[in-house]
């Protein structure tokens, strides 16, 4: 038999000024199963809380209704007091007599009546509350960082420095990401490699970080605190322990004409290679698709010249399982290539290049040793045109968003060009200059005012070649949309930043959501920019949307803190207000019929498939199962389930139904 205690708070006079608390108390005491009702001036004060605790013990209460302010204010307070009184904290409910009653109504009969209705409703609800136990989940204190660009590096170092193990997986042979390709960085024009490489080395040497380069995450199972990742370590055809990184194999490899990815196709590399001299780890891999031995079965020059006999042609991919408690996704972004722009030359015009190619041209370690020379004939361009928003903010091409970084890097490119080719002219076609950031706008102004970059507001319609020159047909919209034609030697497209190829598949493997542009989706656009909808998986850097270096690093540190917070306890405790599918003994097992229509409804991928098998392994029944590690308790699946087989603790069907009935009927 339920024994409910009702505690009516005056909140000074905040409630009692318009609600006749005495009358509410009297009405409450007459409600069925109310064993005790009292009123007090400040229920949240220490004596007020003691009143609750003592009453629980004294009156052997089985449920508590504190009729005071909003539960959003003091529910934790009174649940704690209830627990201290020896009752399960989830057997305490609050009736909101202040924000929803005394403060919004005038003093009078109707206000008091409403207060009584509210109290009665919560009394009926609390009778049906269950003694819930917090959900405890063990936490594996190791983090998986996917992607070894600047965001992944930052996240990995921050987590490792908190004393936790980190496993970093990088798809290419070296970490460093796009940042390692950059020449200088805005808005300070310091050398990218100079600030990045020390951190790359730190990753390699950190005792808490295990680096798997040339590896990919194939599968991720489990849930927050308890993930198992399957990692494919692609065969490098190399015994990494034996290799000393002397580089002899690289110089001797006869296959030398493979377009160099790191140089954005503007240089060549052999089949056995390290992507760039400062690569980490600085050990070569054999690109099987282009290696003569793998193609024709003959060659083995590298094996012959290797002084330590480190080449392993028979090496196979290795797939390993790692257990981690959290995942940071930092897979970065890609850019649209010049061939995305038929009107600018279909990628057939050699001197129409993209921003990353320009970075390599401007880089001291690049194919031209930092000289700006155009790809077609190696001449120094006297007239250069930069086209901003090439692909970005272009719904017709399927990209409606602003890529955010192009305004800044275009200004940087123009500036670098002017610094290197003093006599040259740099023109920038732009639509808007978006340079919000510390010292950003000053940087753009410097390009215009000090380096005399010619900024023209308008888009380019077409670029075509004539006598080795590029004719750029644009417009100056600030001069009444006057057509502008520039005869240029080179054109640089600030192409849109896009999701990495394979981002969608990875998102599916990780069970995190992604947006229509295949960028990973944050859990909340404002308040959870680092979290994904899957608990325990966090985002860092440009895999979420195009970002510059400072933003990527900040977000990476944010993600690291989320991971560190998660790892600060050995067990994860969660409010047990989660959904559950009913279960019974055989032969019914559950009323769930396994239509799985609830699955797509769940924003957290918390609904799994459970198969009940007979002793001989035959599936007797398939039914939905809620992973309470993932469920956040929104209850959308509950309302959707036709057979009412799912229910939500704290807001069960019985509870909410009773609330409706109790609110509308006097008992």
């Amino acid at each position: 038999m339920a024994r409910i205690g009702v505690f009516i708070c005056h909140c000074g006079e905040n409630i009692s000024a318009t609600v006749d608390c005495g009358k509410v108390c009297e009405a409450a005491s007459k409600l069925k199963h109310v064993a005790y009702a009292t009123e007090y001036k400040y229920m949240c004060s220490d004596p007020g809380q003691s009143l609750v605790k003592n009453a629980i013990i004294e009156h052997k209460l089985t449920g508590v209704v504190v009729s005071a302010c909003s539960p959003r204010m003091h529910e934790p307070t009174f649940r704690k007091a209830t627990a201290e009184g020896g009752l399960n904290p989830f057997l305490c409910e609050m009736a909101n007599l202040r924000e929803h009653c005394s403060w919004v109504h005038e003093k009078g009969e109707a206000t008091t009546e409403k207060a009584i209705d509210i109290v009665r409703t919560l009394v009926e609800k609390v009778k049906r509350n269950a003694a819930l136990q917090p959900i405890r989940v063990p936490v594996t204190k190791a983090a998986l960082v996917i992607g070894g660009g600047i965001a992944g590096i930052q996240a990995a170092l921050d987590i490792a420095n908190c004393g936790h193990k980190v496993i970093m997986v990088e798809r290419s042979p070296s970490i460093g990401g796009h940042m390692s390709q950059l020449s200088e960085t805005f808005p300070t024009l310091d050398c990218s490699q100079c600030i990045l490489t020390p951190r790359m080395v730190e990753v390699l040497q950190h005792p808490n970080i295990t680096l798997y380069s040339y590896a990919e995450v194939e599968q991720l199972d489990g849930f927050i605190g308890n993930f198992v990742a399957k990692i494919r370590k692609k065969a490098k055809s190399l015994d990494e322990k034996a290799c000393t990184g002397c580089g002899l194999c690289i110089t001797k490899c006869p296959q030398k004409k493979i377009p160099n990815e790191f140089e954005e196709g503007m240089g060549f590399r052999p089949a056995i290679y390290v992507p760039f001299p400062q690569a980490v780890p600085n050990r070569p891999v054999i690109d099987k698709a282009n290696c003569t031995y793998y193609i024709k079965g003959k060659c083995k020059v590298c094996e012959i010249v290797c002084p330590t006999k480190a080449i392993r042609f028979d090496q196979e991919d290795e797939v390993i399982d790692v257990e981690v408690g959290a995942v940071v996704v930092a897979t970065g972004f890609d850019i649209k290539r010049a061939d995305f722009f038929p009107e600018y030359g279909y990628g057939k015009l050699k001197d129409v290049i993209d921003g990353l190619q320009f970075e390599r041209l401007a880089s001291a370690s690049g194919p031209t040793n930092g000289e700006i020379l155009r790809p077609s004939d190696g001449q120094k361009p006297k007239n250069i045109v930069f086209i901003a928003c090439a692909g970005s903010r272009d719904p017709a091409k399927g990209i409606a968003y602003c890529s955010k970084i192009c305004c800044m890097y275009t200004a940087k490119h123009a500036m670098l060009y002017k610094h290197k080719v003093h006599e040259g002219n740099a023109h920038v076609f732009y639509m808007d200059i978006r340079s919000a950031g510390k010292n950003y706008d000053e940087f753009v102004r410097r390009a215009i005012e000090e380096d005399h970059v010619n900024y023209i507001r308008g888009r380019v319609s077409t670029v075509y070649e004539r006598d080795g020159k590029l004719i750029v047909k644009g417009v100056d919209t600030l001069l009444g949309a006057q057509p502008v034609e520039i005869v240029a030697d080179m054109v640089v497209l600030a192409t849109a930043g896009v999701a990495n190829p394979g981002a969608e598949e990875l998102a599916q493997r990780l069970h995190v959501s992604y947006d229509s542009h295949k960028f990973f989706a944050e859990a909340h656009p404002k308040l959870k920019p680092v979290e994904t909808n899957t608990a325990g998986i966090f985002l860092a850097g440009a895999c979420q949307n195009p970002k510059d270096i400072p933003d990527s690093v900040s977000q990476a540190s944010g993600a690291a803190v989320k991971v560190a917070a998660l790892f600060s306890q050995s067990e994860l405790t969660r409010e047990p207000l989660v959904a559950a599918v009913n279960r019974f003994g055989p032969p019914l097992y559950s009323t769930c019929v396994g239509c799985f229509m609830c699955q797509p409804v769940c924003p957290y991928q918390a609904i799994e498939r459970e198969e009940i098998k007979s002793r001989d392994g035959k599936v007797i029944k398939s039914l939905a199962k809620i992973n309470e590690g993932l469920c956040q308790g929104c209850g959308t699946c509950v309302a959707l389930c036709r057979s009412k087989s799912i229910d939500l603790y704290g807001y069960t069907n019985e509870q909410v139904y009773t609330e409706v009935v109790a609110l509308l009927n006097d008992y």
Binding site: E343, C389, R393, D394, P395, A396, K397, M431, R457, G458, R459, V460, S461, T462, K473, G474, V475, D476, T477, G480, A481, Q482, P483, V484
Partner: protein, 186 residues
């Protein structure tokens, strides 16, 4: 209370363009790519992106300027603007509408006299013969535009090459064509 309830009855030219040819001027963010690629932009008083900007203001003075502009008559419907417009704004359809509107309100730019005279001669040729009678078209155009000596040397050369007929080729069912013209004259 809802945001959609706040619709004010708009009576601007932009609103009419939106209603009649489903072209939303507000979509234009003034990148100018249309003007950059337009073959006749440099001859126009207002290049296409300017026309869109003027529409966006929804000011009667600008609406008036558009309808009285030379630009709308110079547009040759080459469709380059639409092809390259990042917002896929159908400028050619919009121009068609503006031309018709300009003429029905008697606001056609005097500089476009020849262009309009040509179009009118063209249609009247079809109206009378069902097909284009080129010699008739030229004679009628000269009459309408008063450019009596234009292209004087062209016709004899065409005739000598068998490219100009002296008699129009008439349709059998001319009554049908007449009916179509009647049914579409507003």
């Amino acid at each position: 209370m809802s945001h959609s309830d706040h619709h004010i009855e708009r009576n601007s030219l932009a609103a009419k363009v939106e209603k009649e040819v489903e072209v939303k001027a507000q979509k234009c963010y003034q990148c100018g790519k249309c003007s950059a690629g337009c073959p006749v932009a440099e001859d126009m008083d207002f290049p296409p992106s300017m026309v869109l900007r003027m529409l966006q203001t929804e000011l009667p003075a600008n609406d008036e300027k558009i309808l009285k502009s030379h630009s709308i008559w110079l547009c040759v419907t080459c469709e380059m603007c639409l092809t390259r417009c990042p917002m896929e704004i159908d400028i050619p359809s919009m121009m068609d509408y503006l031309r018709q509107k300009s003429r029905s309100e008697g606001k056609a730019n005097p500089k476009a006299k020849n262009i309009i005279a040509f179009h009118k001669s063209f249609l009247s040729s079809i109206k009378h013969t069902g097909r284009l009678f080129e010699l008739g078209l030229i004679i009628d155009y000269k009459r309408q535009s008063l450019n009596l000596f234009q292209d004087a040397g062209l016709a004899p050369k065409m005739i000598s090459r068998g490219k100009l007929h002296f008699m129009p080729e008439k349709l059998k069912d001319m009554a049908h064509i007449a009916k179509i013209f009647k049914n579409t004259s507003k």
